[in-house]
């Protein structure tokens, strides 16, 4: 173990590094958010409608469960490395790898959310003469929002937190600094790590706030963020 003064000194230097290179770090952070946003967008475009439709039809629970288990078992490093060999180095490879990573929680939670809507409510809506599209839009989706959005939030935080690893495959972002101790030294690495932590915490808090805002008022009685239900950790 190093002496406390030495470790403290490294930390102080890390903050100096942040103070000395705000523009550079902001550019890198933006790069990371761009990659994360693109990956999340791709995952949302594919996994969200799939999960919602399967949940509405009450079919494919095996797919939803499988997606969650495999999604968690597949290490991000393996995904990024494997896509690197398939798609080459750069943005596309990382976007696809991170999108695959994000699809797991989005698909599983979207399916669970829509599939798990109270059957009595669905029956009542049908009895009132709603069509499938109306049922989905007016009953199932509003009731599914909390769980569905939790999946999106988990996926988004996972992507932002994993994006630094993409640096080894040319993904850019703050990870570029973290994996390059030779150029930036330990204080740069730690400074970038602190920025990465702040960035994912900010994304988490922003999405938690958004989640409260999009949750229908009637479903807000329980606190959304500190929720200790198991779905939270999917």
């Amino acid at each position: 173990m190093l002496a406390d003064t030495a470790s403290l000194h490294t930390f102080v230097q890390a903050f100096h590094f942040i103070g000395d290179h705000p523009g550079f770090l902001a550019t890198k952070a933006l790069e990371q958010l761009e990659l994360s946003g693109a990956a999340l967008g791709l995952a949302l475009a594919v996994a969200l409608p799939l999960g919602i439709v399967l949940g509405h039809l009450h079919r494919g629970s095996g797919l939803a469960i499988g997606a969650s288990i495999v999604g968690r078992a597949l290490p991000s490093l393996v995904l990024i490395a494997a896509f690197l060999t398939l798609l080459g180095i750069g943005f596309v490879n990382n976007m696809v790898a991170l999108a695959v990573l994000a699809s797991g929680p989005i698909l599983t939670n979207a399916f669970d959310a829509v599939d798990g809507v109270d059957r009595d409510a669905v029956e009542a809506a049908r009895g009132m003469g709603m069509t499938d599209a109306q049922l989905l839009r007016r009953v199932e989706l509003p009731l599914a929002v909390p769980l569905l959005f939790t999946g999106v939030r988990v996926a988004a935080v996972t992507v932002v937190a994993t994006a630094p690893i993409a640096a080894i495959a040319g993904g850019g972002g703050l990870g570029d600094i973290i994996v390059n101790q030779a150029s930036y030294r330990l204080e740069g690495v730690i400074g970038a790590s602190i920025c990465v932590m702040a960035l994912s915490a900010a994304v988490f808090l922003a999405l938690a706030g958004l989640q409260v805002a999009v949750t229908p008022r009637g479903l807000r009685r329980t606190s959304v963020v500190g929720d200790t239900s198991r779905k939270e950790m999917l």
């Binding site: 173990m1 790590s193 988490f204 500190g226």
Partner: protein
């Protein structure tokens, strides 16, 4: 693959199992008493829940690096990071499990004259087993997955062959696939083993997810 097994993949797999076992073991040893505490004093649950949700957002790569000035480039650094992730996963699951006992059951238990401790050990804990094992499943599988990132810091575990392969300029990288498949297989095997454990512990709840 055969040529790589003895000198690379075999030891990497063993290290990875060690890494995971220590992280989940210590994580559980910490999470269990904390959960009992949160269960007993309900007011502590929400703050702990928020803090752990935030802690879980810390990227592993960043967490490893931030610990380096304090604990150096060591096994301890890796384990501290992995233990905090398992803790954050296990705690809410155990608490949710302890909450799962229906009020009628608790009423009945108290009516039968059980003390608070007896209610905990004979009613709440047995009913919490599925949730606890559920938490362990997530913790084990996630730790195996996150453990590959440890290779950025230490030349150990299944991440290391992948990490090395990425640094070479060759286009087709066998190590990436073999180590990748091994880590996924390890995760799925551990997951299945825990499902079997749950069935053995709670034979009355065969159908629970």
């Amino acid at each position: 693959m055969r040529g790589h097994w003895g000198d690379t993949l075999g030891p990497a797999l063993v290290q990875h199992v060690e890494l995971t076992a220590i992280a989940v073991g210590i994580g559980f040893a910490l999470a269990f008493p904390l959960s009992l505490l949160a269960h007993r004093f309900r007011r502590t649950e929400h703050p702990i829940g928020v803090v752990s949700a935030l802690l879980y957002t810390i990227p592993s790569l960043a967490l490893f690096q931030i610990l380096v000035p304090f604990t150096g480039i060591t096994w301890t650094t890796v384990e501290i990071a992995l233990v905090s992730y398992t803790l954050v996963i296990l705690f809410p699951n155990i608490v949710a499990g302890l909450r799962a006992a229906p009020d009628e059951v608790l009423e009945a238990a108290r009516g039968m004259g059980l003390t608070r401790l007896q209610v905990l050990t004979r009613v709440e804990l047995p009913l919490a087993v599925p949730a606890i094992v559920g938490g362990l499943r997530i913790a084990v599988v996630s730790t195996i997955s996150i453990g590959t990132i440890a290779a950025f810091l230490l030349p150990k575990g299944l991440g290391y062959p992948i990490f090395l392969a990425l640094k070479e300029p060759t286009p087709f990288k066998t190590e990436i696939y073999s180590a990748g498949v091994l880590s996924v297989a390890l995760a799925l095997v551990c997951d299945a083993a825990l499902v079997l454990l749950r069935r053995a512990l709670v034979p009355w709840a065969r159908r629970a997810a």
